[in-house]
Amino acid sequence: MNLFEYQGRELYEKHAIPCAKGFVVESMQDLEAKMAQAHYPVVVKAQVLVGGRGKAGGVKFADNAAQLREVTKGILGLNIKGHVTKKVMVAQKLDFAKEFYLGIMVDRATRKFLMLFSADGGVEIESVPEERIFKTTIDPLTGFQPFHARAVLLKSGLDADVQKQLAGVMAKLYTLFVKEDAELAEINPLAIQRDGKVVAGDAKVVLNDSAVFRHPEFKQKDENMTDLEQEAKERGVALVQLDGNIGVMANGAGLTMGTLDALTQFGGKAGVFLDLSGTDNPEKVAEAVRLMKKAKPAVMFLNLFGGITKCDTVANGLVTVLRKEGVEFPIITRIKGTNAKEANEILHSFGLETAPTLDAAAKKASEMAKNPSAYKIVRATPGGI
């Protein structure tokens, strides 16, 4: 889960990483109440979870109260790539002599942690040439050690005093990274001010979703999720909205993705990725159908492999919820595994399309999506079970 800059900054302060003084406001009234805390000149930054806010007018400066009111008014409510700015951070404008990049992240390649440092900070790290980025791997069993700082700093050519300050920030950022269960903790720019002091100029923290139970204060809506995705997540269903029109429901992330891929072989395009996951609970099948209905696909494609759960159990669960609650789109099914034959008979006799293989089903789904009204749609049976 991405944290807002102001939340990351709170964590930095908690772990004694030097930051510019500042505060957050949600409205103009809020600004008036906190106005006295501003040390001019200040920078006013839109709190949105999307890159490129500077170019979009989400970062402005102010030298006095009048300017601060003006720019804050302009930024609050600003729509930046679909993200509406609800909060604004007002912070002391710092006088940077030099800007660095520092990041610590979970590294899949080594299955350890990776620390990156570059003396070319203040720009997107992806734009910095590889040879100007210094990397070191940190073993979770030993944690950060002074040599990790040396590994990335000794070739930087920086003053000994600056290296010492940076090494201190690295040790603290590592502590934050571990204690706060971050997948990524990034300071860009990490800057030296004209007075020689090192300070964090931004605060990017991505918390590990699986660890949010240890940090309940950050349990919040993920702004990068659609409302439906968020609703599904709360119900324990993995749902992703895509830009096609076929609603794919399958069990297991891999099989669901494989189903998406199969569609493209026949010109079909998925609009919903819905991973049923464990299918042993009929209520979960009903829940999934209800979420699918909200996504309004042209056609729904159920791809199921029955293992320990028997396919006929799932088929019966599906038929029950369809009869009771109905849908507004045709359904194509492809069922394999334990008791698939019985399941196909149930679905077929209920009037749903069944296909014997994944490619046949994908082909059919792609065809149906072009003209869904040509296929049978199961409406709710009033009073029926």
């Binding site: 979770p140 571990v178 830009d243 992330a253 891999g254 998406l260």
Partner: protein, 294 residues
């Protein structure tokens, strides 16, 4: 020889008395798995499907001579459970639990590795060696058949699909490893390839990958460098070719980030290594049947 699970594997189930533990102890015993112990703190002395339950893994190892642990405990307690299993002397630990904090996995994966323990998972369906009738985890027993094909997969149901199709086509399996889709797995595709490489009973290898990370590319690089695909035919399927950037497709691992971890990159790497790549997961069985002349 089969890998990870052999006829000597003696299973202890951590989290034995919960719903999942009880159910799968029954399923595993039915398959023929040698489940020798369960562990649930405070329930020592009870039995589940005639399997004795102990308070600690150390007791299960000492008394029931367990050497392989299967972990069902909830995510917040999984790190504790894995370290307990490793310290008790288990040589194989299979972690089914999903949604484990990545910092917990980072510690226990590195700890197990350093201690020479084979860890499978977390967030995985388990493993199966059909020959010695050892199935450890939540995989459906009915799909397996003993034979010459080893399978390693990051995806649960895709594994079932592919293994089911192999068995239907009359092609059995030497070892099937469900590696799980978490960012920090105990056993990677490369680790699995190295295990299968030296297994005389494995004549062909199937790898099932998905978007996210670079473990597919890493395995492909090794296969290319060693020319392994010339000695043992290798087949791969990669899920998520149409997944958009920045959206987690179902679990934490399946994520294309700024152009990294794409299916295209993985498929290209496999092809360059001489690995035969399938468009549909169900193609794999036919490929193997043709090549091995089964």
């Amino acid at each position: 020889m089969v890998v990870v699970l052999t006829s000597d594997s003696r299973i202890v189930v951590q989290g034995a008395t919960g719903y999942q533990g009880q159910f799968h102890i029954g399923q595993m015993k039915q398959f023929g798995t040698n489940v020798v112990a369960g562990v649930t703190p405070g329930k020592g002395g009870e039995k589940v499907h005639d399997v004795p339950v102990f308070d600690t893994v150390a007791e299960a190892v000492q008394v029931a001579k367990a050497n392989t642990s299967l972990i069902f405990v909830p995510a917040p307690y999984a790190k504790d459970a894995v370290i307990e299993a490793v310290d008790a002397g288990c040589k194989v630990v299979i972690v089914i639990t999903e949604h484990i904090p990545v910092h917990d996995s980072a510690v226990f994966v590195n700890y197990a590795k350093a201690k020479g323990v084979t860890l499978i998972g977390p967030n995985c369906p388990g493993a199966c060696s059909p020959g010695p009738k050892s199935k450890v985890g939540i995989l459906p027993g009915v799909i397996f058949k003993p034979g010459p094909v080893a399978v390693a997969s990051k995806s649960g149901t895709l594994t079932y699909e592919i293994v089911g199709a192999l068995s239907e086509a009359g092609i059995g399996q030497s070892s099937v490893l469900g590696l799980g889709g978490d960012p920090i797995p105990g056993t990677t595709l490369l680790d699995a390839v190295k295990l299968f490489e030296h297994d005389a009973d494995t004549k062909a290898i199937v790898l099932v990958g998905e978007i996210g990370g670079g473990h597919e590319e890493e395995a492909a690089e090794y296969i290319q460098r060693t020319g392994l695909a010339k000695r043992k035919p290798i087949y791969a399927y990669v899920a998520g070719q149409t997944a958009p950037e920045g959206k987690k497709m179902g679990h934490a691992g399946a994520l294309v980030e700024k152009g990294k971890g794409t299916a295209a990159s993985k498929l290209a790497a496999f092809k360059a290594a001489g690995v035969k790549v399938a468009v549909f997961p169900t193609d794999i069985a036919q490929f193997v049947k043709t090549d091995l002349r089964l």
